[in-house]
Amino acid sequence: MAQFWIERVEVAGFRGLPKLLQIDFDRAVTLLHGDNRQGKSSITNAVEWCLFGPEIAAIRYGEIRERADWEVRSLHSTKCYVECTFRSADGETIKARRTLKTPRTTDFSFETQDGTKSADDKLLHNLLQISSADFVSSVHLHPEVIRNLLVALPKNRKEAIDRLLGLSELRDLEAAFKVQKPSAWTSKLDSDIESLYLVRDSRLAEKRKTVESESDVLLTNGFQQPDLTEDGAERYAADIAARARKLASTFQLPELKFTEPHDFASLQKFRNELDGAIRNLQAQNPVLKNQADHLNRKANIEGLRSAYVARKNAFTAAEQELKSHPEVRSTDQLDAERIELQAQSSKLAAEMNEVAKNATILSNALEFFQKRLDAELILCPLCGQATKSASEWRAHIEKEIKANEILEALQTRKRDLDSRAAILDAAKEQRLALAKKITDEKLRLEANIDGIGRLLERTLSPNDDPDGILSSEIRNIEDDLRLLQNQVSDVNAGLDQLREASQFLDVFARLAKAQEEIRKIEAISSSESFKEVMGIRADAEQLAEDVELLIEGLNSATNAEAKKRLDGVRASISDSFSKITARPDFAGLQITPVGDDYKIELTDNAGAGRSALPILNHADINCAALSIFLSLAGSAQISHRLGLVMLDDPSQSLDATSKRNLCAVLADLCDSRQVIVATADSELRNEVLRMTKKKKIYRLSGWSPAEGPTLSDEPNANEGPTTEAAVGTDAG
């Protein structure tokens, strides 16, 4: 497939290029020359930003993240975009444009000559078969790439050289599989299975403990180890059933029927039936029934006797209360005396009314006289005593008449009479209440005695002593109960033995249940759902193993391919190094893949190799890196379709001879690759000018923050006329 080269870049508002700038590139060589801070790197960076956008800023190349804090948009521009036109040897063109939307997002679009349009930059990457990592390692030779090639960590050096060797796809595939960490997949599943096993083992231990403890109970109670089986439990159940039937026969009760157990599962049913049978034997046994009847009758009689004694005491107490009451007169006598007192009281009331009436008349007359005689000397009509005022005269007259004294005496007598009448009335009420209480208690006592008669089935005469009769009856019952006691003990002993024996059936049942659960837990591993889980786990393990092996295979393939491809360019690398450095002591440079690294050695004239890094100075390291990069970038092994190399300030630390030699190597390279060089180095510029290849030479100068650089064609660089490139057009 034909490779693409850059035909034109149109850029505005990008980093150090605030104004619109259009740069046409030569198919062979393009030189961007100018002092530092004139926008050369902004042009080369514009190409990678157009292709990869924010991804290129985020790329971590070894330990270096030079673009991480890029200020993409020029501070003096409102818009920021880059448009690149690529052309292939077949004449096919691709136009890609990226515009900054927000500080972190962009709008992208590209269009091919055949009319394909898309806003997906991944499609363009697929078309060019290039990733951002490929670009920064095999297209754009930046100073940090040089360092990575030789002095970086082995893994970063390996990645850089692998990509130069066109092994990006194998590396990407390996990395894509490694992202998933397949070795961790099964760990998570195993963790779930392990927790399941833990629960299972814990349950098993618990059930086994139950089996052990229940077995101990049976063994310590006379059972033998061979009895602790299903058959043993059945035999024991049959024995208990026989004993229950025998007991029923002894009690002369109907024969008992059981569903005798045939396995552990039916043991509980038998146990329940046995419980019912024991309850029936107890309830229907004649001796126990007789005893129960006696006990019931005794309890009833004792109850009646207690009630009788209580009633009798209450009645006697009521009688005693009436007898001991302080008022001994009858209610009739009390009534007669009260009536007499009330009559006297009424008479006094009439008298008091009369006195009060006269007193009122007198008071009114006195009032009348007081009004008339006020301020006159007044004489008392009764004793002739002189008074000084009408009020004094009135007080004197009232004293003479003594009406108030009479009234007070009458009132005192009346209160006394009324009080006595009230006392009599209260005494009468108390006596009546006591009499009623006696009547009520008597009725209750009679009802109690009737109850006693009914229980004893005889009529009690008033001369009978119910307490004595009941006490005698209780003694008779107690005699009967004593006579029954031996029979009752025998019966209860038989039933207790049966109950006790049945307790061991519970032990057998718990033992059986635990044994059954153990069998179920042990059978889990052969269940369908367990097999399903383990099947999926096996699938997961298989997938993880396959992926791990594939990663291993990809790694081996990468190394093998690297070796094969290096063999193809070994001589070229060595020659380039020899040409650029022209060292007399070491004729060449060799790169050999070793594990996860590349061994870089200098070879002396005898062909012996020595590790390069301890020997080379700073300039030689750059020469070595350039030799490797240019040889590999120019080889046919490159897997992507960008047939260009961009060298940003490649002549660092090189002397004049090395720069000349570098240009000789570049002259060879531009037969197969477009070469773009950005440099501030005039010696290098002059060497490029001397190259006999077709080229474009641009000078960048006069940079200002608001206007950016002035871009001009260098004279004598091209066969065509010298022209000022399109500059100064406002990016907006």
Binding site: L173, A176, W185, D192, V199, I524
Partner: protein, 71 residues
């Protein structure tokens, strides 16, 4: 590009059976096709999706096992 046959050759002594060899070949070829269409992220997404389905099947199966056995 390296072929599935070449990958297989590198793993000749490591694979346990012809079936595993066939699976790894298929895995590689499938990943290669996905890479061509969707890049490295597409391969990562594809294998992640495969694993996620497997994991979901496992979760369902183990939930059923717990239900069946009371564990």
């Amino acid at each position: 590009m390296v072929t599935a046959d070449e990958i297989s050759q590198f793993l000749k002594s490591r694979v346990s059976s012809p079936e595993q060899d066939a699976r790894i070949r298929a895995l590689y070829e499938s990943a290669h096709n996905v890479y061509k269409q969707r890049g490295a992220k597409g391969v990562t997404d594809e294998i992640q999706s495969h694993w996620t389905k497997l994991e979901a099947r496992f979760s369902k199966a183990i939930a059923q096992l717990r239900k069946d056995t009371g564990l």
